[in-house]
Subunit: 307 residues, 2 copies
């Protein structure tokens, strides 16, 4: 095999309460990564699509770093060149660097028939993403590789579990037209949190896990509620509370920040309501002077795959 | 119906990481509560079994208080007298007051054919327990009423979900021969906790929920780990870390404090190992000058019921 092209989906880290623990893959958005054999090294030769500000240097690019990690893991002496086509906006809180890292990791393993499982690839992809995002967490790389919803039980050693999916879940994502690098959204994290907030977020995350493992959208609808991280990140997203209130007034089950933001996601089980929610969210952003784009997605049950 | 006798099981609150959120009912230990109609009021006429220090005044007794709550909820003008037979040691961290409260609530509802469901009875039983324990939390009353493992998503308004059971799970409980009132074990709770501990406990609790909903003991074995509450309560139990280490060295999957303590529980899936673990735990307590009793239980899949 001389070349392989892999698709990896966008994802929503935290899913509200589950900071650095939960994540889910979504349909509609994802990155394509093509890997081709070259004699040695890692080169990025093409970045198309939503490619603004994505560096070509492999050491600064999550796909380049992930390719390097997997080559080393497979003990391969050859190299790869990568073409990346991005449909996940970068620094938007939708797992853009994770999708590229997952795609590259998966592609390199396929290209050299390395025999690693998607689960095996989470560690190198997460290492790669950590180098560009400022934190080692798998809540985007894991769903990008495994699909569905994932749970990171432990980061050292990495222990990730795939939880399943909720078929009827609709996820409305409003992405404002500005970037919020993960490094910046992690810089505002608190060192300590109040005990009651700990209990509340843990309870909501636990119910969310029950919802994913049983596929029960009614359980899920009760638990998109984050009292720990959302309050400290909200000010990084102008108009966040207006957008959230607009989503809830339009009938969303819940609404919170996607990953480190600035994308905001809301959830429902009804397609016509999803459109109303999306319109209400983009209008609320606009009323605050922020342009945004809206996207309606489902849960993506499959992770990275050859196209 | 003039009289009804109800059994309600003992329970393990928190189950390690899930402070104030998770709880599970166990076999082997439980309270019997007999309720008989009387013209008015609530009286406790008999307390047998492990009855030391249990007050007869209905206002200071969780069963008496629960009976009052349910009578009021049913709008019944008659009263009840209660006979309580306790096999759950009190102030041991095994949901003793919750078992009595659950038993009384269930019995009064049955006696007057009130039509309330076990889920409906959690609120009055928890109110009753709160009055004697110093905190409104359902991680003992809910499993005592519903059986299996339970998740308290929200306390106000109360939202409790039954999660299911793990059939092969063996729970080894070592109960030291001293009381630790819940009020005292709650007095040492921290106001704030470090963010990494929040993430770690949430992750372990989430995986525990996945284990209960899927009945997977292998998942469960990885998540009995509490970095938030155990460290601040350990000093209330002389020899705790020796007992925990002894359980782990004897092959337990995990070991932590049961509820507010002083009982310590360990988990395994093998009966002969369970005995070794129990012996190691009581020996470790003894080596620290603390006498204890040991009990091996399974998960109790049924909650309170008429006997």
């Amino acid at each position: 095999m001389k070349s392989v092209t892999v698709f990896a989906p966008a994802s929503i880290g935290n899913i509200g309460p589950g900071f650095d623990v939960l994540g889910l893959a979504i349909t509609s958005l994802g990155d394509h990564v093509e890997a081709r054999r070259i004699p040695s090294g890692v080169r990025i030769v093409e970045i198309t699509g939503l490619s603004d500000s994505i560096p070509y240097e492999p050491e600064s690019n999550s796909a380049g770093l992930a390719a390097k990690e997997v080559l080393a893991l497979l003990n391969v002496r050859e190299g790869v060149e990568l073409c990346i086509h991005k449909s996940v906006p970068s620094a938007a809180g939708l797992g853009s660097s994770a999708a590229s890292a997952a795609g590259a990791a998966f592609a390199v393993n396929e290209l050299f028939q390395g025999g690693l499982t998607p689960n095996d690839l989470i560690y190198p992809a997460t290492l790669a993403e950590a180098a560009v995002s400022g934190g080692f967490f798998a809540d985007n790389t894991a769903p990008a590789l495994l699909g569905g919803a994932t749970l990171t039980r432990c980061r050292e050693p990495l222990d990730v579990i795939k939880l399943g999916s909720i078929r009827d879940l609709l996820i409305v994502v409003a992405t404002p037209a500005f970037e919020l690098p993960t490094k910046k959204s992690r810089a505002v994290l608190p060192d300590y949190i109040p005990l009651p907030s700990f209990v509340e977020n843990m309870a909501n995350s636990c119910l969310m896990v029950a919802a994913f493992t049983t596929g029960d959208i009614n359980l899920f609808g009760r638990c998109v509620n984050d009292t720990v991280i959302e309050p400290v990140r909200a000010h990084l997203i102008p108009g966040f509370y207006d957008v959230k209130n607009a989503a809830l007034e339009a009938g969303a089950f819940g609404c919170s920040i996607s990953g480190g933001g600035p994308s905001v996601f809301a959830v429902t089980d009804n397609m016509s309501r999803a459109h109303l929610i999306g319109e209400a969210m983009t209008k609320a952003f606009r009323d605050c002077g922020v342009e945004s784009t809206m996207c309606i997605a489902k849960m993506e049950t499959n992770g990275a795959r050859v196209t």
